[in-house]
């Protein structure tokens, strides 16, 4: 199952790397990545992620992303069958 995560992050050096690095290190594959610049100095990022194993909790991942400095907003999106 792929879960989508929609974020708005600062357009700052390393911000995208920080986000996708965290997702992979915490045990999730990134199957989809879309990004566009926003007019407010931010970037909108949509990730489609899939847990590497059953021990990985999507909600915990959301909180780990949320605590990153420079993540302005995060919302869980729809689930998609792989």
């Amino acid at each position: 199952m792929i879960r989508t995560i929609n974020c708005e992050i600062d357009r700052a050096e390393g911000s995208l790397q920080r986000l996708i690095g965290l997702v992979e290190r915490r045990g999730f594959h990134i199957d989809v990545l879309e990004m566009e610049a926003e007019g407010n100095g931010g970037r909108r990022v949509a990730l489609g992620v899939r847990a590497r194993d059953s021990g990985r909790c999507f909600d915990v991942l959301g909180r780990q992303i949320d605590r990153l400095i420079g993540v302005r907003r995060i919302a869980a999106g729809r689930e998609m069958a792989v």
Binding site: E13, G14, R67
Partner: protein, 568 residues
């Protein structure tokens, strides 16, 4: 009054280099001491530092600067600062950054960087330190414009200290450091207001406590970090709930407190592990269910419900589900809990009986120095001013098991990362931060060699750290595992060709002496603690002496291995 004299004199804006502005920021942020090592790309900052009131401690390896800054943060609660140049200087900080990240130490690391024009061209001493450190910092910056320096510095210090503390990296390209700019506007640091406690969660936690028959207070390092020691002790004493501590939680409740059952986990006390195993409620305060503490998660506290109180929402449910989660101010939460002492008399009696039955013994046979007894004795001799700066290995676990800790921030240990080499630079920083404390570096013959060059730092600044070097001429913990779990296939653990550590210390100008027999321990402790400057006691211990008890790998905490004393 003529028109000319009515002029308001406008001072021209002071022009500073970016580096000068950074030093000014450090001063305004209250930094008194930094640890570092200069080099090419960071020279503008060192140029500016020379004229400042900030004390710079010149270490002899950048890793030591990072460990020292980490320990400064842990000891004082202030943000520790370390400085290194680009390239190898910066990469040498990485272990220290990871250490601070794992153990939530507030720290800012400033690295020089090659000029912006050549960044990305594989220039001399260029590395992408921002990219390399992303997983081991709380946040990071590359400063591209000197005008950003005041904002970046204020933000970095706020981020490092707020909530769950951690390290922040600031990468400063040389041209930005050298460029002249106006003395910038320094934004006032935010004083983050703790979020309102979730009253419903607090009430739910209270109901859990009142309903529990076998509760255990699970004390982590977050208690000290949150300044919640008073609240924790008050909660423990008004409820009578038995307490256990993680490696980092030691001292929040004094280890001599009757309710303290000991450290839990791989080398924890049997009474602590049994209590957790039999508990029907864990009240987890500022802890993250580290695997060294829990052992096999699927057998950990199998009958317990969990109240998890933590500053970091991301820790809730990461490894163990919580029936009640309270995120926010730990002390304020504890102050609202345990309004009535739960009726748990028989549970308290049971845990106390287990504590008495499994208490450590210090009457090992023979004339050899018995390390647990030595560590207990030195911590008692140092009293409430005792601070242990531990390295990693058997000595670290013995210190956790047997030293007396009466306060948090007095046990400096690389808990999460397990970084050998932490002890000496950490001890130097702790002694500089709190000169009135009795700082004892507890190290081994493996660990000391990881940062032994810092004896020069201790000597240079006359830092009166007391170094207790337990020498078994082995990598003791690895040897122990090879003995127990690898069929005694001893592979690359022999260090019997160690240098003469007394001579090494003396060569650095540090007083040193040797303790070889048990009868020398008492006078040795006296001499070590009485030394006015840095002093090293080289203690010979039995190479086959293991750390007990032990939870074997892959086992639950209740499956502890014990031993009886080896008879000589």
């Amino acid at each position: 009054m003529n028109a000319q004299s009515a002029h308001v004199r406008v001072e021209p804006a002071q022009r500073l280099s970016g580096a000068g502005l950074m030093v000014r920021a450090l001063e305004r942020l209250g930094v008194t001491t930094v640890f570092g090592y200069p080099g090419g790309a960071i020279m503008p900052l060192y140029d500016a530092l020379a004229g400042s009131g900030i004390r710079h401690i010149l270490v002899r390896h950048e890793q030591a600067a990072a460990f020292a800054a980490d320990a400064w943060g842990r000891t004082t609660g202030e943000v520790g600062v370390c400085i290194a140049t680009s390239g190898p200087g910066a990469t040498n900080l990485i272990t220290g950054l990871a250490n601070a990240m794992m153990d939530s130490a507030p720290m800012v690391a400033i690295t020089g960087q090659v000029g912006t024009a050549v960044m990305g061209t594989d220039a001399f001493q260029e590395v992408d330190i921002l990219g390399m450190t992303l997983p081991v910092v709380k946040h990071s910056y590359v400063v591209r414009d000197p005008a950003d320096i005041p904002r970046v510095m204020v933000e970095a210090f706020e981020i490092a200290a707020m909530g769950r503390p951690g390290p922040v990296l600031i990468d400063l390209p040389k041209d930005v450091a050298s460029a002249l700019t106006d003395d910038g506007y320094f934004p006032a640091p935010d004083r983050p207001v703790a979020p309102e406690l979730d009253a419903g969660a607090v009430e739910a936690a209270e109901r859990e406590i009142q309903a529990a028959e076998r509760p255990v207070l699970y004390v982590g390092g977050g208690v000290g970090l949150a300044g919640a020691t008073r609240a924790l002790r008050a909660f423990a004493e008004r409820t009578g709930i038995p307490a256990i501590a993680t490696l980092k939680g030691l001292g929040a409740l004094p280890t001599g407190h009757p309710q303290h059952l000991g450290m839990l986990g791989m080398h924890g006390a049997r009474a602590a592990n049994e209590a957790v195993h039999d508990a029907d409620l864990l009240i987890v305060c500022g802890a993250r269910f580290d695997d060294r503490a829990t052992g096999r998660l699927d057998t950990f506290a199998p009958g317990a419900r969990v109240i998890h109180i933590d500053a970091d929402p991301a820790e809730i449910g990461k490894l163990r589900a919580a029936q009640v989660a309270v995120t926010g101010d730990l002390g304020a939460t504890l102050d609202r809990l345990g309004r009535t002492a739960p009726a748990i008399g028989s549970w308290i009696a049971r845990t106390q009986a287990a504590k008495a039955a499994h208490a450590a013994h210090y009457d090992a046979p023979g004339d050899d120095v018995y390390a647990p007894a030595l560590l207990k004795a030195i911590s008692e001799a140092a009293g409430d001013r005792f601070v242990a700066a531990c390295d990693v290995g058997q000595h670290q676990m013995w210190a956790a098991q047997h030293c007396r800790f009466s306060r948090p921030r007095a046990h400096l240990t690389s808990a999460g990362l397990g970084a050998m080499g932490y002890g000496l630079p950490a001890g130097i920083a702790a002694k500089l931060a709190r000169p009135g404390d009795e700082v004892v570096v507890i190290t081994g013959d493996g660990s000391i060699m990881m940062n032994i060059q810092e004896l020069a730092t201790a000597r240079r600044y006359g830092v009166a750290v007391k170094i207790l070097l337990l020498d078994n001429s082995r990598l003791g913990l690895v040897r122990q595992w090879q003995e127990l779990f690898y069929d005694r296939n001893y592979s690359e653990i022999d260090l019997s060709d160690n240098p003469d550590f007394v001579k090494v210390a003396e060569a650095f100008g540090v007083e040193a002496f040797r303790i070889s027999l048990r009868e020398e321990v008492g006078p040795g402790i006296e001499r070590l603690l009485a030394a006015e400057g840095p002093c090293l006691a080289h203690v010979m211990i039995d190479p086959e002496h293991n750390v007990w008890p032990l939870v074997p790998p892959g086992k639950g905490n209740i499956e502890m291995m014990h031993h009886s004393f080896k008879r000589m």
